[in-house]
Symmetry: C4
Subunit: 275 residues, 4 copies
């Protein structure tokens, strides 16, 4: 087991090239937010945009259109019921984040299936939140693409079949090999499983134990994997920074709210990008 280091983050987040434009920093679609859990997709999209993704589209129930734009006019929006438009847009994306506030009803299950069926090999996919619960009941194979899942321990139990007490690094790594995707198992100290390694995140604080914290991480991973070429390093850097910011804010706060983390992302990324 290897610790994620600030050095790894520093090597990942590089100074942006002068000759570049929005497209250079990736197109991200975040899919989720039903009538009950619309806040989740707002928090995820906020994190993606503050992470520097070039162009962010939110595919959601339109009941969330106004609350999203009221705080994040930078996002574009599409009704996730409009299959034709979704299909057309999905093709143009570099990264797809699916799950925050998606729910687990039949529509959500169908949407997950539709989206995964269209994923192309060069795309990156972040599967989070409700989509993990749905994933645990699916029998179809996952598409050939760069995929990362972000379960907390209970969701990991559903996905891996490992009870929480049995979720040792070794057992988790074996489960990850079976699933064939990068796995982030969120806990007090989060661990990340890739094909060839087990990573340990040194940060984290109980001040993060509040609703929406995972949605924010999923959005950050969306933003980081849209910009940084090495998929694993992009993921590890997002995990590290998410908890580093929380740790710093928790120096003066009993609870850290998700939007407070997002607001800090550009400053932290700037510092890591300096030589």
């Amino acid at each position: 087991m290897q610790s994620i280091t600030s050095e790894l983050v520093h090597q990942t987040i590089r100074r942006r090239p002068a000759e570049s434009h929005k497209g250079t920093y990736g197109r991200v679609m975040l899919i989720g937010g039903n009538q009950n859990f619309g806040g989740a997709i707002i928090m995820a999209a906020t994190a993606a945009i503050y992470s520097g993704a070039g162009l962010v589209t939110v595919a959601t129930d339109l009941v969330n259109l106004t609350s999203l734009h009221a705080q994040l006019p930078e996002a574009m929006v599409v009704d996730y019921h409009q299959t034709a438009m979704m299909t057309q847009l999905l093709k143009t994306m570099d990264v797809i984040v699916i799950g925050p506030g998606l729910g687990t009803d039949q529509f959500a299950a169908r949407l997950l299936t539709t989206v995964l069926a269209q994923v192309q090999p060069q795309q990156r996919v972040v599967i989070d939140g409700s989509a993990l619960t749905l994933l645990a009941t699916r029998t179809q194979p996952l598409p050939a693409a760069q995929i990362v899942v972000t379960p907390h321990q209970m969701e990991w139990q559903r996905l891996s079949g490992l009870k929480i007490a049995d979720q040792t690094p070794t057992a988790n790594h074996l489960a990850q090999q079976r699933l064939g995707v990068t796995a982030i198992v969120k806990a007090h100290h989060t661990t990340v499983y890739t094909t060839d390694r087990v990573w340990f995140n040194p940060g984290g604080t109980p001040a993060m134990a509040t609703g929406g914290m995972g949605d924010t991480l999923a959005g950050m991973i969306g933003g980081f994997t849209a910009q940084f070429k090495d998929f694993t390093n992009a993921i590890l850097s997002a995990v590290y920074l998410h908890s580093e910011i929380a740790d710093d804010l928790a120096q003066a706060r009993y609870v850290v709210l998700p939007h407070q983390i997002s607001a800090e992302i550009p400053k932290y990324m700037h510092r890591y990008s300096l030589n």
Copy 2:
């Protein structure tokens, strides 16, 4: 009559255990917000989330969905007209706050009855705002649970039968014994009545005399009782901190607005949690 002290607050708000998750800090449902008073449930939910409650669900008229999420994406939302979903969710809650902006029409009265009928002994209930007016006209007994009511003096008159001029600590305490619930009687200096004691809150400022201040206190009590085991101490700490923050803000403000108090809660709680 005993003064609430900063020492009591300090003993209540403890450093969070490292091994913990959202569930550790409680599930809170806040019920209220009709078409006219939607702001009340937004202010209450804001206070609950900034107090550190793990998972917060707002049960309201969906007319309030967007304004809530536009400023508080951290909250989940359910339509309070959907009886089946309400029933299912209520079972999973640690704390129920009912009343802010609920109104006093027939629907509100029915909803209060439905909710109270489902309360389980291990749950904690905060009855506030319009629900207190409704409570005063009810004849059914209150459910066996840990209940706190938060009337201002006029609401206490309706609830206790005591005219404002007659609301002495002794008379209030006798009324509280009859009602069998913890009672917070809000006034310039708020008093709190439990089975065995009368508490006096030393703080408070006329800069708090503005709409929404009580909704914020109700939300704080929701958040505190979700996290801290001793019901009475959780309540007393919320009352104390609510006015302490207001007193501090009023050092430089003629009027203190409810959302300004909520924004400060995490910092104050952090300070009390230090050894």
Copy 3:
């Protein structure tokens, strides 16, 4: 012509009595905001609440409900088409502000007539914005109450019949005597006309020349007249403070936005309230 002085403001804004509650600081209803000009009533209500009014209700087209609550949960809302509820609520108000974003169509004209017909002698009324244009075409007498109108020079031309070039203090004062209401004529240096005197406001900056500035002043007058007994002094203090805050903000800003003024009101009032 007499200058409004900081001394007058200081004598008006007094330290709040400890024994007081929301009702002590007045009930204000702000009426306005159609589908095109909803922002005006939001800005007016924001100013009223930040001025310390105890309880603020906004009567508006419900199309504005969500945008209002998204930034000002402290306000209560009523549909201004619901005549019965409006009538019932109007009776309970200390101050009525009518006009910001009301528009000048038939509904607006009817609403103004309905509201003015219900005004009671002890109530205070602020007539602003579109309502001034409507007022200029009315033939019915104004109700017996404490009324203030807040025209800019073009609106004053419509109301008084005086062309802008002819709006000298003497001519304005004669027109005010005819109308029988306090008149604030907004210009670079605003003048205020009461039965026995002409007041001159020393402050004011071209950085205030932006949409919504008048709505903010109307809301402040609503808040001030709700709290301070002397009607004239309350009005003069609102006029003075509105421009004093703007002058200060303009030290570092080319344009001052209305919401920036409102955010400062509690601090300025606090300073004036000190001995």
Copy 4:
């Protein structure tokens, strides 16, 4: 090719005359924002208002009404489907900004045609975003008025017929002469083409490469051309300031968000307005 200088900006942004009012600083209508791209017109309108435009009206799909007013109550709103009202309002405008989030469907094309057909010689027109794509397919001549287009390199390719690799200053200038409108070609270093000159903007940072940055520039140009008499200098000053603010914010941020630029505009303009 001549560099835009801070001296030019200083000569353009003058201290405001004391005797002035909202009308002095111009009436601006911003047209755009469909169901998917509503955020764009919000960001453009925010920039116009923070630039000091006197009166700003947003013509949009009403689906965007609430999210706009939730953050920008200073803007007035009109449904861009209401042809009669649009026609009436357009006549009163000093500046028209068309394009941010307009989309490229049939309705958008028709609206662009309708608006351009009504433009009067003394009006100023900013054509941005989707409207540039529509413009590239039109055959009708542009109206006689002061017009500026704001393409990024790909949009300029569509508009000028020049492939990105061929977009040299000389080729661009020839294309501009053909089109007969001022052209801002947005790139790492933006160039501006007027009838008699080619301007080079010295500022700009890859931290600006995020969605909404162009909408913000379009809104600033709307605000600046509404206030400052010399059309070219107003445009050049907006271009210069937009990137100067971004450069400054990027000293501490990996990505600069559009609304962060708008928030700074009044302070920067103030500094330039000093002698």
